[in-house]
Amino acid sequence: MDKPQLIKKGAEASLYLTDWHRRKVIMKKRLPKKYRPPILDERIRAYRTIHEPQLMHEAKKAGVPTPTIFMIDVKNGMIIMEFIEGKQVKQLLSDAVENVRRDLCIKIGELVGRLHNNGIIHGDLTTSNMILTSEGKIFFVDFGLGEKSRELEARGVDLHLMKRALQSTHFRFTEECFAAVIKGYSRVLDAEAVKKILAKIEEIEKRGRYVSERHKDVMYE
């Protein structure tokens, strides 16, 4: 492989598969966005290029598999990291039978629990950001929108966004998947903490925007 091969053109960054010192690596490049002012553009790209590897490193320490970082280049908004061979959970989840789907979601919930327990918020917990390897490990990728926080609010939003991602991509089994995620999550965090988070998610969903849930409340009253 000589030339970097574009494997995914996302909205935020482009991913290239390439060789780097005889290793198969992913080169993640955050290209300038012409639609926004240069100052804002540089701020966003530099911030994410610096923070993403930091969070991935922290996640690894927390016991959540993430690609190894080899190099970062802030000026060019570039990160070189290990290439993880595997399948996107997004595809697997749609094709899997019920118990496989459930086990996957429990495992995912456990990993999210480890992140949160160590003050890491992923920020974009969609099933396309999770890769299952042939050894059965689930790697989390794309921490570009993540942050360090131990606040209940941040954790609640993180899980709430995951639920929303399930609703838009796996709408046929959102409830069952999310319940399994929480089950896995509960293996890491104690019952009291989980209870608080679930209450928080419910509160977030009632904030006007996530409206049908509030409607339900009114009917129960």
Partner: protein, 342 residues
Amino acid sequence: MREKKTHEAYCLGIESTADDFSVGISTFNGEILANIISAYMPEEGGIHPREASRHHAEVASKVLEDAFAKAKIKPQDLSIIAFSQGPGLGPCLRTGATIARALALYLKTPLVGVNHCVAHIEIGKLKTGAIDPITLYVSGGNTIVAAFDSGRYRVFGETLDIALGNCLDVFAREAGLRQKVGVPFGAMVEKFALKGKKFVSLPYTVKGMDTSFSGLLTAAVNLLKHEQCVLEDLCYSLQETAFSMVTEVAERALAHTEKREVLLTGGVAANKRLQSMIKAIAEEHGAEFCVVPSEFAVDNGAMIAWTGVLAYKYGIVTPIEKSFVRLRWRLEEVEVPWINRN
């Protein structure tokens, strides 16, 4: 599907979810014969639901009259009555629904309750020719990125707190600007922004596919109150930051769904700067950029009438006893059987 002689069939649509009361008339073929909008303009402050609903009740008969005159048809010519059933402000929705029920009972026509957000997308498609777009719907009450999948419009991203238009409106009010007829707050902010020179750093909040504008608004208002920045620079920076946020989310939805069209609608769609940003990402991904003409991008009765037609053709009617308004009716709860794609 039983179909009537289409050229003879008309639908009247009533829109009253927030500060606008509007009546539109559409043929069953999607020809819009009338679209009369009456906006409620508070002396000061935001929309008071009760005051707005009072305005709606006061102007209703005149707006209806104007619509019939413009369409050159009589009430007896109508085949169906459609109304905006939600989401929106309770008193405002109820005023529109009451009028719709009364008309339907009097004229003995079927009643069709329409989801306001679905209507925005449908009229956008009708007016721009878009077929299967990613829609960015930005207004005073909503900030939604949606696209069709498996029988419904799925919400990919939305605001976690206030709407984009609301953020701009409140900032303008805090800055002491006064709204005039035909010049909404958003247009004033846009005008000031054109004279802005210095970009001021403000909170940029994108969480997953969702956005948050409340922190941005507070920061901008604080800078203004403490006279640390001039209004022009703040309007410019507020717009650039807020628009970059929704553009980023729209681009991610576009990359994710690989749709071929981007539809921009809602009151904020009139903003030229936002248009240029969304156009840029559409081009970047080889998608067509479609912006809904202003008259049909703001809240309007025509969109309700046209969506009523679509629903009615698929056998959807709303019995009077089930026509209660739905203040928090989500876009993704609505089945849209008139779109058939697998």
